[in-house]
Symmetry: C2
Subunit: 279 residues, 2 copies
């Protein structure tokens, strides 16, 4: 069994990014919009700032109070779109109730849309055209490729169809010529699907969802789930029970998470290089 | 075995549409853009005009020569977008080389986008939000529902990932809570997938692709493929070989095709009713 070590790969990637930013004198600024004081939003933002700092990307935090209206948020986004000093914009979720995340995030200029969630970037992904790709799916594919895992022709059981991971990842894997079965809460006989799959990817957020009897010998496992259990973060895999059947497997935490933050940096560098070009 | 008789259902639907258009005095005009003289385009257009006529929808054919530039096409689309007398616009494909179909079709006002191929409508489908849905996938789902076939929890082997049928149908079926495996030319061991599936849908265009040994007893079959063989149209199913194993099966032709044209009418009626509303 080989561990798909996202943490170690992140270290390499950050060095590459830092070097590229220095060598090419890339002047990059990420604007992060925080609304209210949702603890998980604060934690995500802190993490983004930390890694941007490490590679020489400036961050600018725009704090809006929890009573902010959609109109006020839209005005800020438009201002940031027009600001030539801003390379990328992230509207940090979760946002307070009352904020229409999808409509507001969609106002972000697609060329500055580091999360890759805007209509234009999703449409590009759907059409297998160049664009900014959501960070978690991009990180998963990049991690697999780093370990020379070929995706074309592989069968993938992909669990979870959320907009952050499952749905865009399905499109990305299809674009890589994998054969994907997208599973969800209404899927019957999940085990019959996972058991046949070359690659099992779980993005559900349910500890011990994937057990030893659900995977085949030599499978490749990617765990995107993260749940806090007794103050400890755990993934969707019953890791100890399945790891010996795996040919490759991510830990969780330490697998996909470090890739996601790396892809934010990569998307910022790409956005900088593509500035002024059509997405 | 029950035949999923799209042709018979179309007859019913057309009567309903005609009645609704008359009763509500819906004044509907479809603008069709034909570029050049591609024989299949001409045949598709002829068919559209015929069925629009039958239900009381006006059609306006805009013919552009085969040397038309993208700029000239864009000017026409913008004009039709602004024309309050036009309910819907279809840019008929195939278009001559030199015409950038995706970019041009994307200029169609999403509220007039009867094919449902524009960025906004695909994004709505991706997000499981209301919008105009592409006609072939919409017709497939409508036909299955007409026969009281529940999609939630069913496994679907969907063959073909084109933008007209496979890809949007994958999203639609997911939105209906089916569990979909999207298969394509790079899929290995296709038979293992189709053999397990509750529903087998083929949109490849390869006669006799689905043979008797590839389906399970009681499966539901939907054939979207259409290929001309010795002047006769045939689907992707080896129909005679698989029909007795099916619980429900479409003929091809006579299954999905009649549903597609019906959904064009339905999308036009919906576009008329939603006029002025946000998509």
């Amino acid at each position: 069994m080989i561990l798909l070590d996202g943490k170690a790969y992140r270290k390499e990637l950050l060095e590459e990014y830092k070097k590229e930013i220095e060598d090419k004198k890339l002047d990059i600024t990420l604007a992060i919009i925080q609304i209210g004081n949702e603890p998980s939003s604060i934690a995500y933002i802190k993490n983004k700032i930390k890694y941007c700092d490490m590679v020489g990307i400036r961050t600018r935090l725009h704090y809006l109070g929890s009573k902010t209206t959609n109109e006020e948020l839209k005005i800020l986004i438009n201002k940031l779109n027009l600001d030539d000093n801003i390379t990328g914009i992230i509207l940090q979720s979760p946002v307070p109730k009352g904020i229409d995340y999808v409509s507001c995030a969609n106002l972000i200029d697609p060329k500055k849309d580091i999360d890759g969630f805007t209509k234009d970037n999703i449409y590009n992904l759907y059409n297998n055209k160049k664009g900014i790709v959501p960070c978690t799916p991009k990180g998963v594919v990049k991690l697999l490729k780093h370990y020379d895992i070929k995706l074309a022709g592989k069968t993938v059981a992909l669990l979870g169809r959320g907009l952050v991971a499952g749905r865009p990842l399905m499109l990305m894997l299809e674009n890589e010529n994998a054969t994907v079965t997208l599973c969800h809460s209404k899927t019957k006989n999940l085990k019959a699907i996972t058991k046949e799959a070359d690659i099992v990817i779980s993005a559900v957020g349910k500890p011990n969802l994937i057990t030893g009897d659900m995977v085949k010998e030599g499978f490749i496992g990617v765990d995107i789930g993260l749940t806090s259990v007794d103050g400890k973060l755990v993934g969707d895999f019953d890791f100890e029970a399945i790891k010996d059947k795996a040919s490759y497997i991510t830990p969780s935490p330490g697998g996909v998470g470090p890739m996601t933050i790396s892809m934010i940096i990569e998307n910022l560098i790409e956005a900088k290089k593509n500035k002024g070009k059509n997405v």
